[in-house]
């Protein structure tokens, strides 16, 4: 029996999600390779394929029209497309510049108008092609990715959680960041990561995006009233990884 094929593709991003794929260790990686065949992974291999791909893992945001045809080609070649990581799933950190109109001048100064430096709005890949599943987070959890692949191999549907990160902190008995005098976005952030950030003493910044129908006004109010933020800082904070998910 031939093994299902997996290919990695990357667009505007840090490639950290792909790096996470190299962190499983020898036993887990070699076991995984008994069940799937990696056929394309530019960051780690020179091989490419003309065959149809079973699962395409696409990392990074869509930021320039030149990348549109590459995405469409991936969609044509793959049976299943997974947006791998925050940049692909929501635009992630790249979307922070979407609310600025001078980012090119800021970075490249008088050279900003050179044609090869053009960059537009950072969007999720779903703005160009149909996406079947999302492995969210910055970085995407390497174990969640294994879960998704495992579900697909067993022909079952991965579960998409719709409750907030606060629930996971309560389960872990992590003291609330607000009770530590800090701030947090866990109230409206989509769970599934296991809430590592508050457990490590830093706020959740919703790198996995929001829950369905988040109350953003209430988030801003809590950031102002409980964390002492200015309204401007509260709005800026609520855009950290989620600039494409709010006005």
């Amino acid at each position: 029996m031939t093994k299902p094929t997996i290919a990695f593709f990357d667009f505007a991003g840090c490639e950290g999600c792909q790096i996470e794929f190299t962190n499983y260790g020898d036993a887990a990686t070699l076991e995984l390779l008994k069940h799937v065949e990696l056929v394309e992974f530019r960051e780690a291999m020179s091989e490419t394929t003309d065959e149809r791909i079973e699962i395409a893992l696409v990392e990074g945001s869509f930021t320039r029209d030149a990348d549109r045809s590459r995405l469409e080609e991936i969609r044509r070649r793959a049976r299943i497309v997974i947006a791998y990581g925050a940049c692909a799933a929501t635009g992630g950190i790249n979307a922070l510049k979407n609310h600025q109109d001078d980012f090119q001048e800021c970075v490249y100064g008088p050279d900003a108008r050179m044609p090869h430096l053009q960059s537009g709005t950072a969007r999720p890949i779903s703005s160009v092609i149909r996406v079947d599943y999302e492995a969210r987070g910055c970085p995407a959890s390497k174990y969640e990715l294994l879960d998704i692949i495992s579900c697909l191999l067993h022909d079952t549907e991965p579960v998409v959680l719709s409750y907030p990160v606060c629930i996971e902190c309560k389960r872990l008995e992590t003291v609330c960041r607000y009770d530590e005098g800090d701030h947090c976005m866990g109230q409206v952030a989509r769970a599934g990561c296991g809430a590592p950030c508050p457990a490590d003493g830093i706020p959740c910044e919703a790198c996995r995006g929001f829950v369905d129908d988040p109350n953003i006004r209430a988030l801003e109010k809590v950031l102002v009233e409980r964390a002492g933020f200015s309204q401007r800082r509260a709005v800026g904070k609520s855009r950290m990884f989620t600039a494409n998910l709010r006005s």
Binding site: D26, M45, G201
Partner: protein, 438 residues
């Protein structure tokens, strides 16, 4: 001798990020010989404006997934310089251990997974599972060790959580550190085996010498990685030292049409950063075990063969393991104190330099009185290597054309050259030219 060459490597494989190699030779005349960087620019320096100092490092960490520890450390160090924060000796020691974990981690990935396939005639590491199973398993084992070693200190290795301006948001326990010490010590046979593997493969690296300027962080107390001043060395041993705060005067960024990343230069037309540059500048401070490894691998300063960067990485793998054992012994003996986070004493501007796996990295920020970032600048190592890679291209092509090589072999030699630099291209394409008003 080859009279006509047509090489067009679009999106070179087994490197981080996107780069192209374009070489055209017609009737013996070189028409094009270019290293091109078409990576989509991402504009981080614009994106951190208006962000609070406590979250700036968590934005700039996202510049690069492979060196996110280094970006985080460079970022918090620059912020600490800007905010008048003096970290404790414990924080400095733990951050140094974290830095070693990242360099070890990234070097293992580069040497075993990105470079070794070229020397074994394989397109990637995956076919080697069948033919060199133990080597692949060892690579994955060492990679995992580094991941857990870094995660113990930094929370995780891709975009660390615990590293914040002023200290650590969460500290490891002495018991955890002692456990990690045993695991790193137990990896000694894997390190020995690594030396044997690379010693056997290194003769396959092309013999190509092009002296350049080598730049690295230097420190009087140890092999420069986490902190210090900047030092460069030329092939004749001539040294120059610089203060980190003056980094613009010795990086001299400029924009070129074939690249979305800026180029840099200092005393010569280009300079090199990375493991080989560090080795050339700071050889004397290597751990004795690392010096033994260098001897075994036939690497001695001042080495001017850029392909040997991968060999210098192996020397640094050994150095980081043994230095970490030494530092862990100190930390375990001293115990871990719950020190709290050191708070800002002023809000101004500040710069930092850290050695990330691919070379020297600079961050600089300026903050307003509310602690919000108003300006940022990052100069990334690969950025600093682009001009040097191009310089190597220009020198290498005539040599290869004069030798008895096929076009495929010429192409592979160029691919291997770029890979030797371990470029981290997605990092390098967002560097700016703002004028800091002082």
């Amino acid at each position: 001798m080859l009279q006509n060459v047509n090489i067009d490597v679009h999106h070179l494989t087994r490197v981080e990020g996107h780069g192209n190699i374009v070489i055209n030779v017609r009737d013996g005349t070189v028409e094009t010989c270019e290293w091109q960087v078409p990576e989509a620019p991402r504009f981080f320096e614009a994106m951190v404006r208006g962000r609070h100092y406590s979250e700036v490092a968590r934005v700039t960490s996202r510049i690069c997934g492979i060196c996110s520890v280094g970006h985080t450390l460079a970022s918090v160090k620059a912020t600490e310089a800007a905010l008048g924060i003096e970290i404790t000796p414990q924080t400095r020691k733990l951050r140094t251990i974290l830095k070693h974990a990242e360099n070890f981690d990234s070097h293992v990935l580069h040497v075993y997974i990105l470079v070794a396939p070229d020397l074994l005639g394989a397109p990637s590491v995956f076919p080697l599972v069948a033919t060199h199973g133990e080597v692949v398993a060892r690579a994955l084992r060492l990679k995992r060790l580094a991941h857990e070693w870094g995660s113990l200190i930094g929370g995780r290795t891709t975009h660390p959580t615990t590293v914040v301006p002023g200290g650590f948001a969460k500290l490891p326990t002495v018991k955890e550190l002692a456990g990690m010490r045993e695991r790193i010590a137990a990896a000694a046979p894997d390190l020995e085996a690594t030396l044997e593997t690379i010693a056997a493969l290194a003769p396959g690296l092309p013999a190509f010498e092009r002296p350049t300027e080598y730049m690295a962080v230097s420190c009087d107390e140890e092999y420069g990685l986490y902190d210090g001043y900047v030092q460069t060395i030329l092939a004749d041993g001539d040294r120059a030292t610089y203060l980190v705060a003056d980094y613009r005067t010795f990086t001299n960024e400029y924009v070129v049409p074939q690249s979305t990343a800026k180029y840099t230069k200092n005393r010569l037309d280009s300079y090199a950063a990375g493991a080989l540059a560090r080795f050339n500048v700071n050889y004397d401070q290597l751990h004795p075990e690392a010096k033994k490894a260098a001897d075994a691998l036939g690497l001695a300063p001042i080495c001017t063969n850029p392909y040997m960067n991968s060999v210098a990485q192996v020397v640094e793998i050994v150095h980081s393991a043994y230095e970490t054992l030494r530092l862990l012994d100190e930390v375990i003996a001293e115990g871990i104190a719950e020190e709290g986070i050191v708070q800002p004493t002023r809000f101004t501007g500040g710069a930092s330099a850290v050695e990330v796996p691919r070379g020297i990295l600079f961050h600089e920020y300026e903050y307003d009185n509310e602690g919000m970032c108003v300006k940022a600048n990052c100069i990334i190592p690969t950025n600093q290597n682009h001009a040097n890679i191009q310089g190597d291209f220009d020198a290498l092509l005539p040599q290869l054309l004069a030798s008895d090589r096929t076009e495929k072999e010429v192409e592979l030699a160029f691919e291997m050259l770029v890979r030797a630099y371990d470029p981290c291209i997605s990092c390098s394409t967002h560097c700016l030219d703002v004028t800091f008003a002082r």
